[in-house]
Structure formats: C-alpha cells, structure tokens
C-alpha cells in the first residue's frame, strides 16, 4: 500500500546525510567528551562542531547553545530554572493559552509551587495581541514565555514585538521555537529573545536531542543537576551521536531553507485550496497569512477527528488531530478551544503537515481520498442531517 506521511510537525525522518554523520560517533569516536585522551577529544570536537552548526542556524554564538534531551527539557529549564534563579526579583510569569504542554505544564508546576501565573488569551487566529501582553505585565513579572509557531495550527506569533514589550517592563523573554527552527528563518538577535528552545527531530535530525539558547548574561541555573557538562549548565554525559546529528541537520536546514520554504509554501497552498474547493463545511484554523509553510489545519463539521485519522490510515495517509479521542483526554485541543472554536467543531480537527520529501502527487492523492473519507463519515453522522435542509435553501 502507498504510504503518505503528512505529519511532519509530529516528527520527521532522519536525513540520510545526518545519519551518516552520526554513525562514527557510535562505533569509532565513542569516547566520553569529558575524557582527555584522543577518543574523548574526538567526541568533544564533534560536539563543538555541532554547537557551531546549531548556533549558525539561529544566529547565536556557539557558547549560547546548551544541548538538552529535546524540546521539552529545554522548555522546562527555561521556565522552571529561570523562575527559580530569579525568584528574588519577582515571582510572576506570563504565558499564552496555546503553548505546547512542555511549557504550559511547566508553568502550572510553578504555579502549584507558589509562583503567580498569567495565561494570556489569543484571538481567533491564535495570535497573542501585544496589547494583551502589555496589560498583563506587573513589576513582579520576571519571565514571559510565548511560542514562536504553534504546533497545531501553524500560527507564527509576533515575537519581536512581544519580546520588546516584555523587556520594557523588565521581564526576560523565552520562546518555544520547536516548530519554527529549520522551517522559517529564526534569528535570535532579530527576534530579541533571551532564551529559545529547539528540537532536532522536527528538522530531519534524530529524536532525543534539542537545545536551549541562552543569551549571554542571562541569569539562569541548571535543570539537570550532576556533572559539569555543558559549561556546568546540564549534568549528564552528552548524547554525542545525537548532538552531531542535530548539528548536521541544522546545517542542512540552513542551506536549504529558502528552497524548502518556497516549495512547501506552494504545496501547502495547493492542499489547502484543494480542500476548500472539494469539502464543504470546512473551517481553516490558525492565521492564514502568518503560518508555517506546508502546515494545513482544518476542522470538518459533523465528523470526529479520530475517525478521520483511522480512515485515512486505511489509505496509507498519516496525519494528526486535536480531537479528544486522539489526545487521550476528554476535552479536544486546548489550542482550538482557546481560539474560540466550539467543542463540537474542535472534535473534527485534522492537521496535515508536509515535509521536504512530500511530493505533488501525494497532495493529489490526499485531495482524492480525503473528500471521500469525510463524506463517508458524514453519511454516518446524525449531525449532518441538519445541514441538508440548509444546503437546499442556498
């Protein structure tokens, strides 16, 4: 059967050149980077080269890159360690209602432990309005954490503007850029952020590696306590092959950025317009202008997301949904609800995210199968009965 992978925001395959670069660090240059003999020094070299490659992708200094086990650890460190290290200055932090759980749950953890938390609402495209942030800042606010691009709906936040507002009020700014790094230009200087999280497996690197960018001069402690690795910022022997892979993936992403951006923007538009044309009662979610290229997120009225996914899977199409059933919770996606989408519509959400290896014919195939799948489910749905009359009146 045909296999069409349309879930690149969930994870990506490891690029073959990335995998090639990693192999020697498993088999030959396996030394511990903290060791002083040649094996250790070789591993250290690999580590530092990767640091330069990742720094290059986001226009940071290599010394500002701290490798972690992934986006979640980077987010946890930025939020929890920053607040603890700066608790003497203030105990209030601000985030948004559409953050990834890696940020939201870390903020809630602090809230349960005596910190004050403000969760900013978003507008219907998922954007945090700068004025809303302005009003929420208090003299006690030490950190604002707002994601760069949203994982579910692809909306890109006005980070530059938001970071400037936070700084004016004396607060530091962190952004979870897991969904944007490697896909759109990310320049820490231009954005003006103090901290930024990134993850390797979203940009054709291996899983289990990420990094936290910490701007020089930012006061923050370690999150994982142990040895003196990562300039005493993260205990634990470094995942050298993973980090080397992340570095290579970052380098490739930087070289291919504009090419991929143009390709995925075009392909994503084709998919989106095809859905708009072929499937009535469809709601496009997120900001249609400021979004990640190749990211299509929709809600189909009268049907449920898990059913769509399973039926698509039977045609070999892999995608994801923010329906309650797919999250394992009783509530549909907090992101869609925060954007004011009603429960019954949020249950019918579908996210299709294209990648560099997606082909035009994959999009054609999805545009052939998806209308049929939605139609089959709507035939089964007691809710779509109600629309027949409406359509007849049009």
């Amino acid at each position: 059967m045909r296999e069409i992978y349309m879930d690149h925001s969930a994870t990506t395959p490891v690029d073959e050149a990335v995998f090639e670069a990693m192999i020697p660090y498993y088999t030959h240059q396996y030394g511990n980077p903290s060791s002083i003999y040649s094996q250790g020094r070789e591993a250290r070299k690999g580590l530092e080269k990767a640091r330069q490659q990742v720094a290059g992708l986001i226009n940071a200094h290599p010394q500002e890159i701290f490798f972690t086990s992934g986006g979640t650890e980077a987010d946890n460190q930025a939020v929890i360690s920053y607040m603890i290290s700066n608790a003497h200055r203030g105990r209030h932090l601000i985030t948004s209602a559409v953050e990834h759980h890696a940020v939201l749950a870390a903020c809630e953890y602090l809230h349960k432990n005596g910190f004050e938390l403000t969760v900013l609402p978003v507008n219907q495209s998922g954007l945090v309005k700068p004025d809303v942030l302005k009003k929420a800042l208090t003299p006690d606010t030490t950190l604002v954490t707002i994601m760069h691009a949203n994982n579910e709906v692809g909306t890109i936040q006005p980070i530059k503007e938001l970071a400037a507002i936070a700084h004016e009020a004396g607060a530091a700014f962190h952004t979870d850029a897991v969904q944007s790094v490697g896909k759109i230009p990310v320049d820490v200087d231009e954005l003006g952020v103090d901290m930024l999280s990134a993850s390797s497996h979203k940009l054709y690197g291996p899983k289990g590696v990420g990094c936290l960018f910490i701007k020089k001069g930012t006061k923050i402690g370690k999150y994982l306590h142990g040895g003196s690795q990562e300039s005493k910022m993260r205990g634990g022997t470094e995942n050298v092959p993973g980090i080397v892979g992340f570095g290579k993936a970052a380098e490739l992403a930087q070289n291919r950025m504009s090419e991929h951006w143009a390709y995925l923007t075009r392909l994503g538009k084709k998919l989106q317009e095809g859905i708009r044309e072929k499937i009535p009662h469809t709601i496009f979610t997120g900001d249609l202008a400021n979004r990640i290229p190749g990211h299509v997120s929709v809600c189909f009225e009268f049907v449920e997301g898990e059913s769509i996914l399973l039926m698509l899977d039977s045609y070999g199409i892999m995608a994801s949904s923010g329906s309650a059933c797919t999250s394992g919770a009783l509530e549909p996606s907090h992101v869609l609800l925060a954007m004011g989408i009603p429960h019954e519509i949020a249950h019918g959400s579908l996210r299709l995210t294209l990648g560099k290896d997606s082909r035009e014919e994959d999009v054609d195939y999805v545009l052939e199968v998806l209308p049929e799948v939605v139609d089959r489910l709507r035939t089964m749905s007691p809710l779509s009965n109600q629309t027949k009359g409406e359509e007849a009146n049009v």
């Binding site: 009268f302 049907v303 449920e304 997301g305 898990e306 059913s307 399973l310 039926m311 039977s314 329906s323 309650a324 059933c325 394992g328 009783l330 549909p332 429960h343 019954e344 249950h347 035939t379 089964m380 749905s381 007691p382 809710l383 009965n385």
Partner: protein, 124 residues
C-alpha cells in the same frame, strides 16, 4: 489499540442510516463530548425487525453502534433490553479502557429507542 473486530465494524459499518417506518427512536450523547448515537428501530410483534444507526464520534463509537444493530436484529424487546454497553464491548473483543466510558453508549441509545417505542405504544 483497536481489535480487528472494532476496525472491521468501523470500516464496514452495518445498518447505517434511517428507517422509513421506525416506531422507536433513541439518541444519547452530545456534540460537546464528541459522541452522539442515534438509533431507530422497527418493532413488530415484540421483535426488532429492523434497526439502523447514525453516529457522530470516534471509531469506537461507530463500531459499537454497528455491533449492537447486529446483536439485536431479530431479538425480542426483552432480549434486547438485556444487552449492556459491556456486552457490546465484549462482542467487539474489547475496547481500550479510555473508550469504555465515553464512546460505549450504543446500548444506552438502543434502550432509549425501546423506551420510546413503549411510550408510543402506550399512547395508541
């Protein structure tokens, strides 16, 4: 996560639709929770002669609806009333634990349809 039987009933649901001559209708759930089951029955001489369903929900919701229509077609009302949500889940070789609560409502919808039939009969 789903059994073969669940996937079969989901991909090839039995008895989808509406009955022209239904004399009992039941509906449970709501769109906010993400599950609505609508069942129509045609009862003749105390026997469920025909049954159809329409369901909004996940694969488990659709499969349990389909399964119950197979289980009760040709059964007497008393036999049909014996069927519980658990019986339906067992007939499907089980459901994931998280689905037992929210998406396993087909027996409730059937019981509502039987109740509706009895009320209508009493009114005649």
């Amino acid at each position: 996560m789903y059994s073969e039987k669940v996937l079969d009933h989901f991909m090839n649901p039995r008895n989808v639709g509406e009955l022209n001559a239904a004399n009992g209708v039941g509906e449970v759930g709501n769109a906010v929770c993400g599950d609505i089951m609508h069942i129509e029955i045609l009862v003749k001489d105390n026997v469920i002669e025909d049954i159809k369903f329409k369901t909004f929900g996940c694969a488990a919701a659709i499969a349990t609806s389909s399964m119950i229509t197979e289980l009760v077609k040709g059964k007497t009302l008393e036999e049909a009333e014996q069927i519980t949500n658990r019986t339906v889940a067992e007939a499907l070789d089980g459901l994931p634990p998280v689905k037992m609560h929210c998406s396993n409502l087909a027996a409730d919808a059937l019981h509502e349809a039987i109740k509706n039939y009895r009320i209508k009969q009493a009114a005649l």
